[in-house]
Point group: C2
Chain length 475, copies 2
């Protein structure tokens, strides 16, 4: 149990349990997972923790690096620690994925990760690293500029290149670079994913990243990271699974929301089925074609039993199970529809289906603190289910599948407000999809289908141009 | 178990189990109840069943009585069975109570009860009597007139008296009397509750009753029924409890709705708390003062634990229980409010509170068949809880408390849209309240407070002018 509590060595021991109950309690809510972190990953994490302790906020090294940042120029050799700052940006699911991506980048480049807490990071998550905070101190010199950073910023790597402000040959460099890796990044910004550019970026003490993409798949296409990634993740589809469970421990407030819901509605069922309904169509819904799609998928894939609309009688079967469906959605109608179907009719198997929806916030309202706490709690609750159905395109679902170590059935995005046929597909891997990858061959300096370069980086099930990492997969 | 299945002899044995699963399965969903029917009641019911078999629809006796009815006059001695016809009228909760009242009247007067099936009676309930149906045949001569019967009908007992159409001295009487016992009945109609009038009514083969009142308490004030009632119900507060469980067996369709909900949401909790929210204020609600009232009652009476709004931490208590709240209401807001309170905050006891609402139909829509099936299922589900909170004035709640053998906490009706203080009161007895009783002393022929005549008929907790039967109660 001691090793279990640390998730196979993934977590460091010795944290105070009370201040972050989720850290060592999560094991109580999950079945034993088959995926163990590699010893190499474990030792890499312990080394990172040492680095973070030495270089983290308010250490002498940090203070020195901040002085250099304030000075405005990047004199190589005056600092002993290098940093990558993650800027608070986009929806919560997106942020969880980007923070994991930036952390992996930090591991690969031996940088210290510092987190811009934004509105809510400190209320949502516990500290993941021992002793030193992962949060950027409030008085960080350029913190006020984060909000204004965008594709047009002169400080961005793409624009610095475009305007010939930096070159490998230069002796003096700016004191930081802004990495614009958001969906609207351009071809210059995308050079971040080329080894030569990484060599240049290595010279900067401070990198500041704004992204809404899980860019890990493209790191797998870079020769400079290849060996290290292979050693860290012998099972290639467990990257977010391990890093997510390492980094994201819900705060006590959120953990209360998770565990109370779990105990009140899910714990005593014989089986738990998560259904994440996230519809990107215009208008609030609910839509009939989505209701039909959910039924077609769950019944067609035998995740839920069919109802018996003819007999309308109680079906006394041998050993019926009680199954709890956890449905998450911004709206109420999908839940109500399924709940009523299984209330009004018996199932052909005699199994009893209870349907539960924690919240229906109607709109994405990321500024309300409780709203995001519930959103995080719901991703986490989905990750505690035995069988998961997610919606195409949604990072909310990716987080759930990754934390839970689940290969979900993905509900296809509908075209023209009709039910797709087939309605869903089983995921190839539990890794998230990179929605806006570069299609560029850094060596040949020309366009390329980056989903066809190596067998373990493929196009996603839900977004044809997206990329995701798979372990073994044969079509 | 055999005797248990028959609820202590209340039910006749030998029914086919499959055609009415609820009849012998209800015992599986209720704790053993402390209230046993008296041997006298049991034998009275068996005798009634024999009478019903002999006189019920389409028997020679019935056919003879129908011929007499068609003939238009009531020649005493030509028929061997007498009937009381219950007319379909008012909301479902009301109907259940009035049907039980009329059945008790039939028992006391040795009449055969026949039921006007209306829109839905046949789809809601199983047949309660062996072999012969309780439903009035479709071709019953005056069935088409039922709908038009009202306070002004010339055929009503009150109007017949007022117009001197009947008197004890008359040899020939009309072939039937309409008994108007609805809320708007007048002083002449109310003479039904006088022994002299009962003597006159005895001479009629056919009585037809329309009522929305549980008029049993006033039967207890009639000397002619006193002895018999004492023998039937030595425990005076179990009248509806026994008669309701004897008469009302949900149909297989409704039973499926009851049992699936119970198994999916309630069965596995450590304790079940029913809260019936029925607000008679204008406008749909939800109202804050009602939300406050529900909390004030459930927490003040220690039916539910208080939440801990200060610490916001998970409270690891020794042996926390999972309690399921079953809330029924036409609207959604009260449920959502309570569900969120117990989701967002821990309780001071560490107990986990799940909140469940089967439907929220928004409006009373008695014409939809599924609507009434759900309404019946919800009354029944409330009756399966361990602790019950009901709303003042509501027959829906009375049915639940009676079937369940529960003394509920009654939420007072609010005045001026404010939370009453105290918010609720424990009921004196599980009997329903008679909302519109007569205040008349038949002997003295003058007004009287009928709530002060005998110790076991008192004014109700929720309606000061109402009457209810209590067993033992000291103020
Ligand atoms: N509570 C809750 N919030 C949701 C749900 N779906 C979407 N949201 C909200 O909408 C935001 C969506 O952004 P994000 O998490 O990045 O996911 P994505 O847009 O699906 O990729 C979430 O962070 C929530 O604030 C849901 O099922 N439950
Ligand atoms: N399903 C459901 N229906 C309700 C509820 N409250 C009221 N109704 C509907 O409104 C009707 C109210 O009439 P009745 O049963 O006579 O109860 P009363 O008006 O409360 O005395 C019910 O029969 C239902 O059709 C509820 O909580 N659930």
């Amino acid at each position: 149990i001691a090793e279990d509590k640390l998730l196979g060595g993934l977590l460091a021991d010795g944290f105070d349990g009370q201040s972050c109950l989720s850290r060592y309690q999560s094991i109580l809510y999950r079945k034993a997972l088959p995926y163990k972190p590699s010893p190499y990953l474990v030792s890499k994490l312990r080394k990172y923790e040492d680095l973070h302790k030495r270089c983290g906020p308010n250490t002498p090294s940090y203070n020195k690096a901040v002085e250099q940042l304030k000075s405005g120029s990047n004199v190589v050799g005056t600092t002993d620690c290098k940093y990558v700052v993650w800027v608070w940006y986009s929806g919560l699911g997106n942020r969880i994925l980007t923070l994991a991506s930036v952390f992996l980048y930090a591991l690969l480049t031996e940088r210290v990760l510092l987190v811009d807490r934004g509105n809510d990071m400190a209320s949502l998550f516990c500290e993941p690293f021992p002793e030193r905070s992962w949060f950027l101190p409030m008085n960080f010199p350029i913190a006020k500029m984060f909000n204004s950073f965008d594709q047009k910023s002169a400080e961005s790597y793409g624009n610095l290149l475009k305007n010939n402000m930096i070159k490998a040959s230069m002796g003096s460099l700016p004191s930081y670079v802004y990495l614009h890796l958001a969906h609207d990044y351009d071809d210059h910004d995308k050079l971040f994913f080329c080894d030569d550019d990484q060599a240049l970026l290595k010279r900067f003490t401070w990198l500041v990243v704004k992204t809404d993409n899980y860019f890990v798949p493209s790191l797998f296409l870079m020769p400079s990271f290849e060996d290290e990634l292979k050693k860290l993740f012998p099972n290639k589809e467990t990257i977010f699974h391990h890093l997510g469970r390492y980094l994201f421990h819900p705060s006590n407030h959120v953990w209360g929301i998770v565990t109370r819901y779990y105990k009140a509605y899910l714990a005593r069922a014989d089986e738990r089925i998560g259904i994440q309904v996230r519809i990107f169509d215009k208008g609030p819904g609910p839509y009939q074609y989505v209701k039909d799609q959910i039924s077609a998928c769950t019944i067609g894939e035998k995740l839920l039993p069919e109802v018996d609309t003819r007999r309308l009688a109680v079906n006394p079967s041998k050993n019926p199970k009680v199954k709890a469906v956890l449905m998450t959605s911004l709206v109420y109608g999908y839940y109500e529809n399924m709940k009523n179907i299984y209330w009004e009719h018996p199932t052909v198997t005699g199994d009893i289906i209870g349907v539960h929806q924690p919240s229906h916030e109607e709109q994405q309202r990321s500024e309300k603190p409780l709203h995001n706490m519930k959103a995080l709690a719901e991703m986490y609750l989905l990750s505690l289910t035995d069988v998961l159905v997610t919606s195409a395109w949604s990072t909310f679902g990716y987080v759930a599948q990754g934390l839970g170590g689940l290969k979900p059935w993905i509900l296809y995005k509908s075209e023209n407000q009709t039910t797709p046929n087939p309605p869903c597909q089983r995921a190839m891997s539990m890794e998230p999809c990179f929605h806006a990858p570069p299609f560029y061959d850094c060596k040949a300096k020309e366009g390329i289908d980056t989903g066809k370069v190596v067998p373990h980086v493929r196009h996603c099930e839900d977004i044809s141009w997206g990329l995701k990492v798979v372990d073994r997969y044969t079509e």
